[in-house]
Symmetry: C2
Subunit: 273 residues, 2 copies
């Protein structure tokens, strides 16, 4: 079974100068994994049309089901994600009526609530409705800029805002149903085992053996603190057609590896993943 794969492209100079920690990529990767799909590649590029476009083109060449971008949908001059996507997909940018209505409605609401003085659409507000031709705007329940879905051959490109609360709300409401269609019933299961009294190079051949005997299980060792204090976290995970199968497979691998570690004088204890 090949797990359908997803590319994440995060856009923003603030990520490249280290001002902002990229929590969006981790949050998305975790949600994608939990839904039974696979993030194969994450890219961070700056607010530059050519670089966004190249990142999209490189992602397309890896043939994912979805390309999800974050950031660069707002009203300022450096919000360039849609321009970059348009360039990569060789489409024109055009004012999208549905998106324009969403934005208009938002500002009307803000004025009614007394949070803003004027509702008219300025150039910078209209900019958020300039989408690549053939796009479908997605309502943003938290902020103003709509998200965007574009079908490109077999790939669905989804552009989400960079503000985490907006990105998460749109993902849960409008993206999860699309991913579930592709994932079917596949589920992800993970758990961790703590090891003391053995160091990583000694545990490594035991992991090799257990992964060889359990082809669906992935085991990764994470040294915690210094390697020499001999505290390792072993992280077991798998995807399977149903949760109980996934659990059984992981349990079998954990029991085997625990026994091998104890034979070599190591100690094991469960750890929260």
């Amino acid at each position: 079974m090949t797990t359908p794969s997803i590319e994440i492209i995060c856009v923003g100079n603030e990520l490249l100068i280290g001002k902002t920690l990229n929590t969006n990529a981790q949050w998305l990767a975790k949600r994608i994994t939990t839904l039974g799909l696979k993030t194969q590649h994450v890219t961070i590029v700056g607010d530059n049309v050519e670089e966004i476009s190249k990142a999209i083109q490189e992602a397309i060449q890896r043939n994912p089901c979805f390309i999800i971008t974050t950031g660069g949908l707002g009203p300022t001059f450096d919000d360039k994600t849609l321009e970059g996507i348009a360039m990569a997909l060789e489409r024109k940018l055009a004012t999208n009526d549905e998106a324009l209505k969403m934005i208009e409605e938002k500002y009307r609401q803000y004025v009614e609530e007394g949070r803003m003085e004027r509702a008219e659409l300025t150039t910078h507000r209209i900019k958020m409705a300039r989408l690549p031709e053939g796009s479908k705007p997605i309502f943003n329940p938290v902020g103003t800029a709509p998200a965007v879905i574009i079908k490109h051959d077999d790939i669905t490109v989804i552009a989400l805002p960079g503000v985490p609360s907006e990105m998460k709300a749109i993902f849960e409401e409008s993206v999860v149903p699309l991913l579930k269609e592709v994932a079917g019933n596949v589920t992800f299961f993970e758990t961790s085992l703590g090891v003391t009294g053995m160091e990583e190079p000694s545990v490594a051949p035991l992991i090799d053996r257990v992964m060889h005997d359990n082809p669906y299980i992935y085991i990764k060792s994470h040294p915690k603190g210094e390697e020499t204090v001999s505290h390792l976290e072993l992280h077991f995970y798998t995807t399977a057609e149903d949760t109980s199968l996934a659990r059984r497979r992981v349990s079998k691998a954990i029991i085997q590896l625990s026994e091998l570690i104890q034979e070599k004088g190591g100690k094991v204890k469960p750890v929260k993943a």
Copy 2:
């Protein structure tokens, strides 16, 4: 002045399944920026030789001064970064005598300190000394696996461990001097301004104008919380040949933008960047 650029490639399935937050990329990006250089691209790939190799090749095509990788230098089967680099640079992997001595010395020391029983070099320990031909190993003051420097034409490839304490220690000790050589006296300066009483699309044209009048200054607006509560952080930054020039340039832009915002009825206050 074109700022010399750097590519960061982070290797690890744990990043692609969202288990680990990629603090390494942010930490490196911030340090690189502070040193007056520019991170142009960050890539995250899994523990897969072909994907690591492709990421390196794509990075080379963007012609950076440095490619810095994190992760995948350890003793386990899925530590594949050096194999990926070797494939990308078309070099063979070979046991590096200097690296082997570093590792041997580490284990001898661990045994002397009573933290480990046996010092002999197992296959998995020797694996950490299998470097692409022409590599220079860098001593790891915190952990066991040496970091690696490889010159490839005009590009320097630097492979750092993924454990943050090891990565940071090696970066400060052995990588900073190399970056400083390239950066010269260039310094980075940043500061932030808080804006209330105006929303992002209204501030956007004022930013455009100030950036037009101040070609060395980059200004980015970051909506904080909901856009509609009208709290914006404006982040100003620049690089210059000396700190006082950088400060003067930023101050000039801040004064101009503050005046424009106040004319439109907005309020400004200093914010810690």
